[in-house]
C-alpha cells in the first residue's frame, strides 16, 4: 500500500478548502498521514481526522518555524522518513514549494510543482509557459514530492470528525539559517482567497484607485477581488491581490477583468480561467483577444449596473 504524507502549512482555525482537496487527493492514492510544523487547533485536527488520517507528525520543538523554510524542510524530511512515505503532497504557495525543494534535496526525491492532476500511477499534469502547454511528468526517484494547485481536484465529503494521534519528532534545524524576527498580519477581507475563489473580479490601472465598484460586484457574485500589477504598484490594493507572472496564477470558473489591458505577464496568471469577461473602454485592448465576453465601455457605469441587475434578479 502506498504511504502518503500531506504537509499542511500555517494551519488556520479549520481546514481550508485547498487543504480538504489535498487530503482527498491523498486518500485516493493510499494510506494518509499528515505533517504539521505548527501547533494546530482542535477543530483543525478534527478536520484532518475526518479524512481518515490517524496519525500526524509534529516537531518536538515548534521553533523550527522561526527559521525561514530550512526548519520546516528539515522537519518534513524527518516526517517522510518516520512515516516511510512514498508520496508527499503539499500546497502550492511559494513557501510550500520551497519547503518541498529543500526536503527534496535532503531525501534525494524529485519535486514537481504546480500540479493540476495526478493519476493513480503518479503521472502528474501541469501547465507550462503561462498555460500555453499541458505537460505530463513523473518523479523518477523512490519518493515523489508534489505541490498541488488549489481547485485542481474535488474535495471529497469528510467523514466524522476524529482526532488523529500526535507523533513528535526531534528535528535538527540547520545552523546556517535565516531567522524570522517579525511578523505582521495583513488585514483579512472576509472574501474568499484568490487561489480558491470560483469567481474573481480583477481591476487594473483603469480603476483609478477606486475598487468599490469591483468589490460590490465581487460580493454580489460571492467572489474575490484581484488586481494587475499596475494597480498593486500604485498602492490601491494589497500586493497579495496581484494576479500574473509574479503574482498569483488563478483558474476560477469566472474571471472578470476590469480596466486591465491584458499584458502577457497579466495573462500568464489568468488565461486558464474557464470563462473570461473583460470590461475595458479601449476596443483595441489585447485582453479582448482572450475574452469570452467583452464589453467596450466605462467600468464605472457597466459594473454598478451589473451589480444592481444581479441584486434585482434576487440572485
Amino acid at each position: 500500500m502506498t504511504a502518503v504524507l500531506v504537509f499542511l502549512d500555517n494551519p488556520g482555525a479549520t481546514l481550508a478548502r485547498s487543504e480538504r482537496e489535498l487530503l482527498s487527493l491523498a486518500s485516493t492514492l493510499g494510506d494518509v498521514s499528515a505533517a504539521l510544523a505548527e501547533v494546530p487547533g482542535q477543530a483543525f485536527l478534527d478536520g484532518v481526522g475526518s479524512y481518515g488520517v490517524q496519525e500526524y507528525y509534529r516537531p518536538e520543538d515548534a521553533s523550527v518555524a522561526d527559521v525561514l523554510v530550512a526548519g520546516k524542510a528539515a522537519f518534513l524530511a524527518e516526517a517522510v522518513r518516520a512515516s516511510a512515505a512514498d508520496v508527499v503532497l503539499l500546497g502550492n504557495s511559494y513557501e510550500a514549494k520551497e519547503i518541498a525543494a529543500r526536503a527534496g534535496i535532503r531525501l534525494e526525491a524529485g519535486v514537481i510543482t504546480d500540479v493540476v492532476g495526478l493519476d493513480a500511477d503518479l503521472t502528474a499534469t501541469k501547465a507550462d509557459f503561462a498555460g500555453s502547454y499541458t505537460v505530463t511528468c513523473r518523479v523518477t526517484t523512490d519518493i515523489a514530492i508534489l505541490t498541488v494547485k488549489p481547485n485542481s481536484v474535488e474535495a471529497a465529503e469528510a467523514g466524522l470528525p476524529s482526532s488523529p494521534r500526535e507523533i513528535l519528532l526531534p528535528v535538527e534545524v540547520p545552523r546556517a539559517a535565516a531567522r524570522v524576527t517579525g511578523r505582521a498580519d495583513k488585514p483579512v477581507s472576509g472574501r474568499p482567497g484568490l487561489a480558491e475563489a470560483r469567481v474573481i473580479v480583477a481591476g487594473g490601472r483603469g480603476v483609478e484607485g477606486n475598487f468599490a465598484p469591483l468589490e460590490d460586484l465581487a460580493d454580489a457574485l460571492g467572489g474575490a477581488v484581484g488586481a494587475s500589477r499596475a494597480a498593486t504598484d500604485a498602492g490601491w490594493i494589497e500586493h497579495s491581490a496581484q494576479i500574473g507572472q509574479t503574482g498569483k496564477t488563478v483558474s476560477p470558473q469566472l474571471y472578470i477583468s476590469v480596466g486591465i489591458s491584458g499584458a502577457v505577464q497579466q495573462r500568464a496568471g489568468m488565461q486558464t480561467s474557464q470563462v473570461i469577461v473583460a470590461v475595458n473602454k479601449d476596443a483595441d485592448s489585447p485582453v479582448f483577444e482572450i475574452a469570452d465576453f467583452g464589453i467596450v465601455g466605462d467600468l464605472f457605469s457597466v459594473l454598478p449596473q451589473a451589480t444592481e441587475e444581479i441584486r434585482k434578479r434576487g440572485l
Partner: protein, 274 residues
Amino acid sequence: MDEVPAGLRVAVLVKHVPDAQFDRHIDAEDLTTVRNESILSELDEYALEAALQLVEAQGGSAAGHRVTALTMGPSAAVGAVKKSLQIGADDGVHLTDAALGGSDAAATSKALAALLEHTGPFDVVLTGMASTDGETSLVPAQLAERLSLPQVTFAASLELAREDTGWTLTARRDNDTFAETVVAPLPALVSVTDQINEPRYPNFKGIMAAKKKQIRILSLADVGLDADEVGPAGSWTRVEAAAPRPPRTQGIVITDEGDAGIRLVDFLAGQKLL
C-alpha cells in the same frame, strides 16, 4: 590569476530564457524548451539590480566589492552574462556542457552549486524569484540546502549592515496573510521579487565598458562534475509528454450602449455562472 578582492563578493545567477513576448515552444521530439529568441530572464534583472545596489551602498567597486554574473546553459546563454556586464556586473562566468541539457531543478541546482563552489567563495548569492521558463522557484531553495547557506528568499526589500560580528542582511518577505522580517548573517543565498527595485538599463558607457570585462567559460569537468550527475541522468523528474493548448479564441465583444451591465448579467446567466 584572479586577484581576490578584500571587499564583498556578490554572485548573481542569471538565466537565458525564451522571450515571453513571443510564442514559446517545447520541442516535440526531446521535450525540452526551444531556446530561440532568448533573453536575460526579466526576473533576474531584479537580482542583478539588487546586487549592484548592495555593493554601491557600501562604496562600490572602488571599495573592493565585486559583482559576478553566472549562468548555466547552451552557448547562446552567454548572452545573459553579456547583458549583465553591460548593466554593471564586474565579471561573468558561463557554465556550458552538452550534458547539461534537460536538467531538472535538482540537477540544475547541483550544477550551479558546483559552479558557485568552484568560482567562489561569495558573500551573497542572488537569484531571481523564478525563471520565466521553468517557473518552479525550486532552484534558490535547493541551492541554499546544497550549499548550507541561510536562505533569504522572495525578498521584497534588502538591507546590508556591518556589525561587530560581521555582515547582516535584513529582508522583508510578503506572504498571503502576513509580512515577515527575516535576518541572516553572510554568506547567504537571496532571491528577490519584482517588488524590490526598478532595474536599470544598460547605457552607452556600460555597453562600451562591458567589452573589456572578463567572461570565464567553464565545462562540467572544470567544476568537478561528471556527465551523469546532471542532465536527464542526474534529474529526479522526467517530462513524459508536452502538448500545446489550443489558444483561447476571442468570444463576443459588445460596445456599451447603456445596457452593457444588464447584458453582462444575461451572459452570466446563460453560462450558469450566477
